[in-house]
Structure formats: C-alpha cells, structure tokens
C-alpha cells in the first residue's frame, strides 16, 4: 500500500521536473531576450515613454519587434491608431505560427491554451515547433519554458530602464540598430526555400518603392499582402 504522503511527493516531482526541463530549454531564449530587452528598455526610456508604460508593455504585450516599433513611432509623434494598426500587422505572422501549432494542442483545456498563446513569440514558437509532436503530453514543460522566456524579457527591460538614465546617447553603443539586426536574424530563419527568398525580396522592394512614393504608414501592410500573394503565385507557377 502506498501512503498518501508518498503519493503527494510523487505528484510533486512529476510537476517539478518537467517545469525544470522547460526552464533549461528556455536558456538560449533567455540569453537573447535579456540583451534585446535591455536595448528596448534603454530606447523606450529615451523616447519619453514612462517607466511604468515601458514595463507594462513587456508584461502585457510581450512582442519584441512590435514594442520597438511602437517606441519608435511614439518618439516620432505618430498617433495611437497608426501605432495599433502597425502593431497588428507586425503581429499577424503569429497567426500562422499559432495555426501551425494548434493541431498539436488538441488535448489542452481552453484556459491553458489562453495562457500558452499569450506567451507565444517567434523564439518560443521556434522551440515548441521543434518538439510539436509531444506538446499534448508536456504541458507543464511548455508553459514553464514560456514563463521563463517572458520573465527574462521583463528583467531585460528593467535593466535597460535603469541604464537608460545612465547612458547619455544610444548611438555610440549601436543600440538603435537592435531592431534591424533582430529582423535580419528572424528573416534569415524564415528564408528556408527559394520561394520564401523571392517573397522577401519582392516585399522589401515594394515596401521601399511605396515608402519613397510617400506612403509612410501603410507601406508595410500593402507590401506584405502583395509580396505574399506574388510569392504564392511563384510557388504555384513553379509547381505546375
């Protein structure tokens, strides 16, 4: 006969060890999020966004590139509607990521799905999709991985905010290049096939032309839709 205390101990271990595994798997993300979060904290501090709002964005938005863009737009005096629309467009890529993980989450309760989705970023998605087939069985591990990632992002933001008072100008440190460099890293990760490279080139060229033509807010969404549609055309044409 097993004593209740033993059962309790066993259950505890059954939760703690997958949680710990999730923390360990998140380490590469932590190494990336702390410095990038730092850069965000410094830039947000310099842009005139309040400390509370800067930290709140990391807590309730948790979207690296969208936060950088928002800070840049605030600094240039863009209105809230354009900021929200741009953020939405930038985040639309997560629609695909969430959609591609969804079939592996069929056994999850809705409240866990809601929590999991909130912390779904490019980087956590990359890790989850590499082990997508075991997501149904490893909920505590997946959630602790996400949680670790967000804690490091918020911590990085906090360090950055503190440092932004000490740093006179971000330019000598190259911090204003963090977003472009992050896009390059993410883009290279997305360019696994010739069709994707063609799509990226077309979309980049269209965005540049539209921007030069004077469209300074809608060039991203128009170029994205046009680029992805042309890319799909190329894909269908080459497969025929």
């Amino acid at each position: 006969m097993i004593l209740p205390a033993t059962i309790q101990k066993h259950n505890k271990r059954a939760i703690i060890s997958p949680c710990w595994l999730g923390v360990k798997r998140a380490i590469p993300i932590v190494l990336g999020y702390i410095p990038i979060g730092f850069a965000y904290g410094v830039l947000a501090g310099k842009s005139g966004l309040s400390e509370t709002n800067t930290l709140l964005m990391s807590l309730i938005v948790f979207a690296g590139s969208a936060q950088f863009i928002a800070v840049g737009l605030f600094a240039s005096g863009t209105g809230p509607a354009a900021v929200i629309l741009t953020t939405f467009i930038v985040n639309l890529r997560h629609l695909l990521m969430a959609a591609s993980l969804a079939p592996n989450l069929s056994g999850w309760k809705k409240r866990y799905l809601a929590f999991f989705s909130f912390q779904l970023t490019d980087e956590t998605f990359a890790l989850h999709s590499s082990t997508a087939d075991k997501l149904n069985r490893c909920r505590p591990e997946a959630l602790s991985l996400n949680m670790t990632a967000q804690i490091s992002w918020v911590a990085g933001t906090g360090f950055g905010l503190v440092a932004s008072g000490l740093i006179g100008d971000v330019k000598p440190l190259g911090l204003d290049y963090a977003l472009s460099a992050m896009f390059i890293g993410l883009l290279v990760g997305q360019c696994g096939s010739p069709v994707r490279v063609v799509t990226a080139i077309l979309s980049g060229a269209i965005a540049t032309i539209l921007y030069l033509a004077g469209l300074h807010q809608f060039h991203i969404i128009i170029a994205t839709i046009a680029g992805a549609t042309l890319g799909l055309g190329v894909e269908m044409w080459t497969k025929r």
């Binding site: 850069a39 989705s117 290049y177 472009s180 390059i184 799509t199 965005a207 170029a223």
Partner: protein, 98 residues
C-alpha cells in the same frame, strides 16, 4: 496593443486545434512571415531622408551586408543582434558614417 498582439496568437489555437486549413491559404500564410519582416527591414536599411542612400556613410546598410551571412551561418538571433550593434558602434567610433 495588447489586444492586437494577443488575438492573432490566441484565435488560431482556440479554433483551429484539430481542423485543416485550405492548402492555398495555408501556403499564403506561410509566406506572410518573410514578407512582413522584409517589408519592415528593407526600407529602414536603404532609405535615409526620403531617398535611397547606399553610400559608404549608410552604416545600417553595410552592417546588414555583413550580418546577413552571420545570421545564416550561426543561425542565432543573439549573435546577429550583438555583431550588428558592435559593427554600428565601431563604425560610428571610427567616424565612418551615421
């Protein structure tokens, strides 16, 4: 911002778990990610003050040419961002450009 970030992440996991997308729409969605990243990135590298500028003083453009292979070779976001920021810092320190 919180809402427009959360909805695209939440709705598919809630409503698509178990369902299948139309293949053409799924392929199109797959291309949105590279398209949106390139649309945000390319103008920021090429355009300075409303015109295309790929002169030596456009550090953003030249650093990008160096870190594209870095990103491709190491496949690491941290390395890409770190090398990128260091190159910009170095370029400015040496007075090569803005």
């Amino acid at each position: 911002m919180s809402v427009v970030t959360y909805l695209p992440r939440l709705l598919p996991t809630l409503f698509l778990s178990g369902k299948r997308l139309r293949p053409a729409f799924a392929s199109w969605l797959r291309l949105v990610a590279p398209a949106v990243l390139a649309a945000m990135l390319v103008p920021s590298l090429l355009i300075k003050e409303e015109t295309i500028d790929i002169g030596m003083d456009n550090l953003f453009f030249w650093a990008a040419l160096i870190i594209f292979p870095v990103a491709w070779k190491w496949n690491s976001l941290v390395a890409t961002v770190m090398v990128g920021m260091c190159l910009i810092a170095l370029g400015r320190y040496l007075g090569l450009g803005m």
